[in-house]
Subunit: 131 residues, 2 copies
Amino acid sequence: MTSASDHANPPVADHSIMDPHASCVSDQASQDALSELRSMRGTIDNIDAALVHLLAERFKATQRVGVLKAKNDFPPADPEREKAQIQRLRALAEAAQLDPEFAEKFLTFIISEVIRHHEAISEDHQRADAS
Amino acid sequence: MTSASDHANPPVADHSIMDPHASCVSDQASQDALSELRSMRGTIDNIDAALVHLLAERFKATQRVGVLKAKNDFPPADPEREKAQIQRLRALAEAAQLDPEFAEKFLTFIISEVIRHHEAISEDHQRADAS
Protein backbone atom coordinates (compact mmCIF):
# COMPACT_ATOMS: atom_id res chain seq x y z
CA MET A 1 0.00 0.00 0.00
CA THR A 2 1.97 3.02 -1.26
CA SER A 3 0.15 6.31 -1.80
CA ALA A 4 0.95 8.69 -4.67
CA SER A 5 2.44 11.14 -2.17
CA ASP A 6 4.87 8.47 -0.96
CA HIS A 7 6.31 8.44 -4.45
CA ALA A 8 6.34 12.23 -4.72
CA ASN A 9 8.09 12.66 -1.34
CA PRO A 10 10.41 9.75 -0.67
CA PRO A 11 11.44 9.57 3.02
CA VAL A 12 15.01 10.78 2.36
CA ALA A 13 13.83 13.99 0.67
CA ASP A 14 11.32 14.52 3.52
CA HIS A 15 14.13 14.79 6.07
CA SER A 16 15.76 17.73 4.28
CA ILE A 17 12.52 19.74 3.94
CA MET A 18 11.64 19.09 7.61
CA ASP A 19 14.42 21.45 8.84
CA PRO A 20 12.60 23.48 11.58
CA HIS A 21 14.98 26.46 11.09
CA ALA A 22 13.82 27.01 7.50
CA SER A 23 10.32 28.19 8.46
CA CYS A 24 8.96 28.76 4.93
CA VAL A 25 10.09 25.37 3.67
CA SER A 26 8.89 23.88 6.98
CA ASP A 27 5.37 25.30 6.37
CA GLN A 28 5.33 23.60 2.99
CA ALA A 29 6.50 20.42 4.69
CA SER A 30 3.67 20.66 7.24
CA GLN A 31 1.17 21.12 4.42
CA ASP A 32 2.59 18.07 2.66
CA ALA A 33 2.49 16.10 5.90
CA LEU A 34 -1.13 17.10 6.53
CA SER A 35 -2.22 16.11 3.05
CA GLU A 36 -0.37 12.80 3.40
CA LEU A 37 -2.07 12.28 6.78
CA ARG A 38 -5.48 12.91 5.18
CA SER A 39 -4.74 10.40 2.42
CA MET A 40 -3.62 7.74 4.94
CA ARG A 41 -6.72 8.35 7.04
CA GLY A 42 -8.85 7.74 3.94
CA THR A 43 -7.18 4.35 3.58
CA ILE A 44 -7.76 3.56 7.27
CA ASP A 45 -11.44 4.57 6.95
CA ASN A 46 -11.86 2.24 3.96
CA ILE A 47 -10.25 -0.65 5.87
CA ASP A 48 -12.50 0.06 8.89
CA ALA A 49 -15.63 -0.10 6.72
CA ALA A 50 -14.48 -3.48 5.38
CA LEU A 51 -13.73 -4.68 8.95
CA VAL A 52 -17.20 -3.66 10.18
CA HIS A 53 -18.89 -5.50 7.31
CA LEU A 54 -16.83 -8.63 7.88
CA LEU A 55 -17.56 -8.48 11.62
CA ALA A 56 -21.28 -8.18 10.81
CA GLU A 57 -21.05 -11.37 8.72
CA ARG A 58 -19.03 -13.09 11.45
CA PHE A 59 -21.71 -12.31 14.02
CA LYS A 60 -24.43 -13.55 11.69
CA ALA A 61 -22.52 -16.84 11.43
CA THR A 62 -21.90 -17.14 15.19
CA GLN A 63 -25.52 -16.22 15.86
CA ARG A 64 -26.55 -19.23 13.73
CA VAL A 65 -24.00 -21.37 15.59
CA GLY A 66 -25.51 -20.16 18.88
CA VAL A 67 -29.01 -21.22 17.85
CA LEU A 68 -27.71 -24.60 16.61
CA LYS A 69 -25.85 -25.17 19.90
CA ALA A 70 -28.86 -24.19 22.02
CA LYS A 71 -31.21 -26.45 20.02
CA ASN A 72 -28.84 -29.41 20.38
CA ASP A 73 -27.76 -28.72 23.97
CA PHE A 74 -24.14 -28.22 22.90
CA PRO A 75 -22.20 -26.09 25.46
CA PRO A 76 -21.91 -22.36 24.49
CA ALA A 77 -18.08 -22.34 24.86
CA ASP A 78 -15.63 -24.83 23.32
CA PRO A 79 -12.12 -24.36 24.80
CA GLU A 80 -10.47 -26.85 22.38
CA ARG A 81 -11.86 -25.04 19.34
CA GLU A 82 -10.77 -21.68 20.82
CA LYS A 83 -7.23 -22.96 21.38
CA ALA A 84 -7.04 -24.13 17.74
CA GLN A 85 -8.45 -20.81 16.48
CA ILE A 86 -5.86 -18.84 18.47
CA GLN A 87 -2.96 -20.96 17.18
CA ARG A 88 -4.17 -20.61 13.59
CA LEU A 89 -4.71 -16.84 13.82
CA ARG A 90 -1.31 -16.31 15.44
CA ALA A 91 0.31 -18.14 12.50
CA LEU A 92 -1.73 -16.15 9.95
CA ALA A 93 -0.84 -12.91 11.76
CA GLU A 94 2.87 -13.72 11.71
CA ALA A 95 2.73 -14.43 7.95
CA ALA A 96 0.91 -11.10 7.43
CA GLN A 97 3.42 -9.19 9.65
CA LEU A 98 0.81 -8.44 12.29
CA ASP A 99 1.83 -8.76 15.96
CA PRO A 100 0.60 -12.29 16.95
CA GLU A 101 -0.02 -11.03 20.51
CA PHE A 102 -2.41 -8.46 19.11
CA ALA A 103 -4.14 -11.05 16.89
CA GLU A 104 -4.67 -13.23 19.97
CA LYS A 105 -5.99 -10.30 22.04
CA PHE A 106 -8.32 -9.44 19.14
CA LEU A 107 -9.71 -12.97 18.84
CA THR A 108 -10.16 -13.26 22.62
CA PHE A 109 -12.06 -9.95 22.54
CA ILE A 110 -14.37 -11.21 19.75
CA ILE A 111 -14.87 -14.66 21.29
CA SER A 112 -15.81 -13.25 24.70
CA GLU A 113 -18.50 -11.16 22.96
CA VAL A 114 -19.72 -14.22 21.01
CA ILE A 115 -19.93 -16.37 24.18
CA ARG A 116 -21.95 -13.60 25.84
CA HIS A 117 -24.37 -13.81 22.89
CA HIS A 118 -24.45 -17.64 22.96
CA GLU A 119 -25.28 -17.65 26.67
CA ALA A 120 -28.11 -15.21 26.05
CA ILE A 121 -29.46 -17.40 23.20
CA SER A 122 -29.14 -20.51 25.41
CA GLU A 123 -31.04 -18.80 28.27
CA ASP A 124 -33.78 -17.69 25.86
CA HIS A 125 -34.02 -21.24 24.56
CA GLN A 126 -34.26 -22.75 28.05
CA ARG A 127 -36.90 -20.19 28.98
CA ALA A 128 -38.89 -21.13 25.84
CA ASP A 129 -38.54 -24.86 26.68
CA ALA A 130 -39.76 -24.30 30.26
CA SER A 131 -42.81 -22.28 29.22
CA MET B 1 -24.78 -16.77 3.87
CA THR B 2 -26.77 -20.00 3.72
CA SER B 3 -24.96 -23.35 3.73
CA ALA B 4 -26.07 -26.32 1.65
CA SER B 5 -27.17 -28.08 4.85
CA ASP B 6 -29.47 -25.16 5.69
CA HIS B 7 -31.39 -25.97 2.49
CA ALA B 8 -31.43 -29.70 3.19
CA ASN B 9 -32.75 -29.21 6.75
CA PRO B 10 -35.02 -26.19 6.98
CA PRO B 11 -35.56 -25.02 10.60
CA VAL B 12 -39.17 -26.30 10.79
CA ALA B 13 -38.16 -29.86 9.84
CA ASP B 14 -35.28 -29.68 12.34
CA HIS B 15 -37.70 -29.23 15.24
CA SER B 16 -39.57 -32.48 14.49
CA ILE B 17 -36.40 -34.58 14.17
CA MET B 18 -35.02 -33.09 17.42
CA ASP B 19 -37.54 -35.05 19.56
CA PRO B 20 -35.30 -36.39 22.40
CA HIS B 21 -37.60 -39.39 22.93
CA ALA B 22 -36.94 -40.76 19.43
CA SER B 23 -33.29 -41.67 20.13
CA CYS B 24 -32.44 -43.10 16.69
CA VAL B 25 -33.80 -40.09 14.81
CA SER B 26 -32.22 -37.84 17.45
CA ASP B 27 -28.76 -39.41 16.75
CA GLN B 28 -29.23 -38.56 13.09
CA ALA B 29 -30.23 -35.04 14.11
CA SER B 30 -27.06 -34.74 16.23
CA GLN B 31 -24.96 -35.89 13.27
CA ASP B 32 -26.65 -33.30 11.04
CA ALA B 33 -26.16 -30.62 13.67
CA LEU B 34 -22.45 -31.50 14.02
CA SER B 35 -21.89 -31.40 10.27
CA GLU B 36 -23.72 -28.06 10.07
CA LEU B 37 -21.58 -26.77 12.96
CA ARG B 38 -18.41 -27.80 11.09
CA SER B 39 -19.59 -26.03 7.93
CA MET B 40 -20.40 -22.83 9.87
CA ARG B 41 -17.02 -22.95 11.61
CA GLY B 42 -15.35 -23.15 8.19
CA THR B 43 -17.11 -19.91 7.26
CA ILE B 44 -16.04 -18.28 10.53
CA ASP B 45 -12.42 -19.38 9.96
CA ASN B 46 -12.46 -17.84 6.47
CA ILE B 47 -13.85 -14.57 7.83
CA ASP B 48 -11.20 -14.56 10.59
CA ALA B 49 -8.40 -15.00 8.04
CA ALA B 50 -9.78 -12.01 6.10
CA LEU B 51 -10.05 -9.97 9.34
CA VAL B 52 -6.42 -10.73 10.29
CA HIS B 53 -5.17 -9.67 6.86
CA LEU B 54 -7.19 -6.44 6.94
CA LEU B 55 -5.95 -5.70 10.46
CA ALA B 56 -2.37 -6.26 9.25
CA GLU B 57 -2.95 -3.65 6.50
CA ARG B 58 -4.59 -1.30 9.00
CA PHE B 59 -1.57 -1.49 11.29
CA LYS B 60 0.79 -0.88 8.36
CA ALA B 61 -1.22 2.28 7.60
CA THR B 62 -1.30 3.49 11.22
CA GLN B 63 2.41 2.68 11.58
CA ARG B 64 3.05 5.07 8.68
CA VAL B 65 0.76 7.64 10.29
CA GLY B 66 2.73 7.22 13.54
CA VAL B 67 6.04 7.95 11.80
CA LEU B 68 4.54 10.95 9.98
CA LYS B 69 3.12 12.32 13.27
CA ALA B 70 6.41 11.82 15.14
CA LYS B 71 8.44 13.47 12.35
CA ASN B 72 6.09 16.48 12.27
CA ASP B 73 5.52 16.69 16.04
CA PHE B 74 1.79 16.03 15.65
CA PRO B 75 0.26 14.61 18.88
CA PRO B 76 -0.13 10.77 18.89
CA ALA B 77 -3.86 10.93 19.75
CA ASP B 78 -6.53 13.02 18.02
CA PRO B 79 -9.80 12.99 20.04
CA GLU B 80 -11.80 14.85 17.34
CA ARG B 81 -10.82 12.34 14.67
CA GLU B 82 -11.62 9.44 17.05
CA LYS B 83 -15.09 10.87 17.76
CA ALA B 84 -15.80 11.15 14.01
CA GLN B 85 -14.52 7.59 13.42
CA ILE B 86 -16.77 6.21 16.16
CA GLN B 87 -19.86 8.00 14.81
CA ARG B 88 -19.14 6.76 11.28
CA LEU B 89 -18.51 3.15 12.33
CA ARG B 90 -21.65 3.08 14.48
CA ALA B 91 -23.69 4.18 11.44
CA LEU B 92 -21.99 1.59 9.19
CA ALA B 93 -22.57 -1.09 11.82
CA GLU B 94 -26.25 -0.24 12.08
CA ALA B 95 -26.66 -0.48 8.28
CA ALA B 96 -24.88 -3.87 8.34
CA GLN B 97 -27.01 -5.14 11.27
CA LEU B 98 -24.04 -5.26 13.64
CA ASP B 99 -24.58 -4.06 17.23
CA PRO B 100 -23.28 -0.42 17.16
CA GLU B 101 -22.14 -0.79 20.80
CA PHE B 102 -19.92 -3.67 19.74
CA ALA B 103 -18.56 -1.70 16.75
CA GLU B 104 -17.65 1.14 19.11
CA LYS B 105 -15.99 -1.22 21.62
CA PHE B 106 -14.08 -2.80 18.73
CA LEU B 107 -12.80 0.54 17.40
CA THR B 108 -11.84 1.71 20.89
CA PHE B 109 -9.91 -1.54 21.36
CA ILE B 110 -8.03 -1.04 18.06
CA ILE B 111 -7.37 2.68 18.63
CA SER B 112 -5.95 2.11 22.12
CA GLU B 113 -3.50 -0.38 20.59
CA VAL B 114 -2.62 2.09 17.82
CA ILE B 115 -2.01 4.94 20.31
CA ARG B 116 0.28 2.63 22.31
CA HIS B 117 2.26 2.07 19.08
CA HIS B 118 2.29 5.80 18.22
CA GLU B 119 3.61 6.70 21.66
CA ALA B 120 6.38 4.12 21.26
CA ILE B 121 7.29 5.53 17.82
CA SER B 122 7.24 9.08 19.23
CA GLU B 123 9.53 8.07 22.12
CA ASP B 124 11.93 6.35 19.72
CA HIS B 125 11.95 9.49 17.56
CA GLN B 126 12.66 11.79 20.53
CA ARG B 127 15.43 9.45 21.68
CA ALA B 128 16.94 9.56 18.16
CA ASP B 129 16.70 13.41 18.11
CA ALA B 130 18.38 13.67 21.53
CA SER B 131 21.27 11.37 20.65
